[in-house]
Amino acid sequence: MRALGVVPPVLFLVAWQLCSWSPAFPIQTFSNPAEVVNALLQSIWDGTLLRATAQTFQTTFCGLGLAIVLGVPFGFLVGSLPRANRAAVGVVEILRPVPAVAVIPLALLMFGFGSSMESAVVAFAAFWPVMVIARAAARAVDERLIEVARALEFNTLERFVKFLFPAALRQLFVGFRLGLGVALVVAVTVEVAVNPQGLGYSMTSAQAALRPDQVIALLVWIGLVGWTVNAVVALAEMRLFRWDPLSGAHR
């Protein structure tokens, strides 16, 4: 079954390469597979691709880390205390629909160009899915577990560490994965739009230099990187949730 998944891309590449030899093909826009592979290897070889990837990763994970550090406690707070939720819900519902790109100007005023600004925008975007899922996870913790914790006279901190957090972790991970997806998208978006660093900026530079082979090589690379990151997270999840017979079954 795995092998079957390789067939369409191979067919596509062959068709693309064949078409590119036709005089009517818009080679200035779409380049061809051979040149794309060449551009990809070239940029790996000279180190520019890896440097740009490192920059994008740094802001993605700084931003996501910030979103988790702020979003999980906040989500737990409003998820377990109905009064806190009522107090916060107004602000949350007004801020949540704000598109992440719309906070770029403010972030620029605050931090200027660079990693800090980009991380801040990423954190803003990833905060919402992480917080919303943490809130739902806190609400879904089985009351029976809380009773077990009470029966054994655990204090508030121990209840959080030994009961609430592990009970919610399975679901929190869904939030982390959603947050990771959002973070990567927003990081590249900020780089394409304004920030002169990372994979997004490499693409705008290649486009300005009229190098479709490089633009497409970067697209392919981002796809590969995204897939790898997801695979690593999925592996971590499988190891972490061995106790759950359902884990792993859905993929």
Binding site: R144, E147, A151, F154, P166, A167, L169, R242, W243
Partner: protein, 271 residues
């Protein structure tokens, strides 16, 4: 220190007040305008197995939860060794019916059993040996590193019982612990519980909707009436121990008690 040795240091007190582990005094419970329990007076003696039985709506689980400190009485009070119960305590252990929800699925069997030891501050080095011994006692040797969801229902309930034993409680409160298990497993667990209770002189309050189970296990059976829940009858069970699934259940005294309580419960259920 084993549970048995703890018991040996405190031989049964001679005066009657010292031998009362739990005392429910003129307790009532209302939720909103609805009266759940009314005028409950009950004493649980050290070392006895007290079974609570009653038709649904008689508040037997509510009474047990009140004894455990999970809910507080609207009137009257619950006293544990003379002190008012205001919150759950490690001295009073609670076995829930739904073992699947009461065990921590992300902890192994050993991790679950060590939970009360962590709560009590037992040194890490001693925990493994204690949990091994408790597992052995409930017939689950060699399952230390298994996760609860990999076990059958009966085995999971054994784990929960071992966990409450690790608390070395004064009183064990059990809320229909075998209600969700098949008949064979239930009988096996009944006998194991009685064996443990005898060895360690445990004090047990056991809620069940199964009349025969109540008589088979109990030294006394307390029958609750419904709407609102109140004590309708207290019956002494004068059957010899150790009990036996065949001979005890065929004993004429067993059958007489069954007849008496059955007639009573049918009448209460009709009210």
């Amino acid at each position: 220190m084993t549970l048995a040795t703890i018991r040996l240091q405190f031989p049964p007190a001679q005066d009657s007040s010292g031998s009362i582990q739990l005392k429910v005094s003129k307790a009532g419970l209302s939720i909103g305008a609805k009266r759940i329990l009314q005028d409950i007076d009950l004493e649980v003696r050290k070392g006895e197995v007290l079974c609570l039985i009653g038709p649904s709506g008689s508040g037997k689980t509510s009474l047990l939860r009140m004894m455990g400190g999970f809910i507080s009485a609207s009137e009257g009070m619950v006293l544990a060794q003379g002190r008012k119960v205001v919150a759950p305590s490690r001295r009073i252990a609670f076995v829930f019916q739904d073992y699947g929800r009461a065990l921590l699925p992300w902890r192994t069997v050993r991790g679950n059993i060590e939970l009360p030891l962590e709560a009590r501050g037992t040194p890490r080095a001693e925990r493994a040996a204690i949990s091994e011994r408790l597992l052995d006692q409930v017939g689950l040797a060699n399952t230390s590193n298994v996760y609860p969801r990999q076990l059958s229902g009966g085995m999971q309930q054994r784990v929960q019982i071992a966990r409450t034993l690790a608390q070395s409680p004064d009183v064990l409160l059990m809320d229909e612990p075998f209600g969700a298990l098949d008949a064979m497993t239930r009988e096996a667990l009944q006998d194991e519980l009685l064996k443990l209770a005898a060895i360690q002189n445990m004090t047990i309050v056991f809620v069940t909707h199964d009349l025969e189970e109540a008589i088979y296990l109990g030294d006394r059976v307390v029958a609750l009436g419904a709407n609102p829940g109140r004590i309708a009858a207290v019956v002494d069970v004068d059957l010899p121990r150790p009990r036996n699934q065949l001979t005890t259940r065929e004993d004429t005294r067993f059958l007489a008690l069954r007849h008496r309580l059955r007639a009573f419960l049918t009448e209460e259920g009709r009210k």
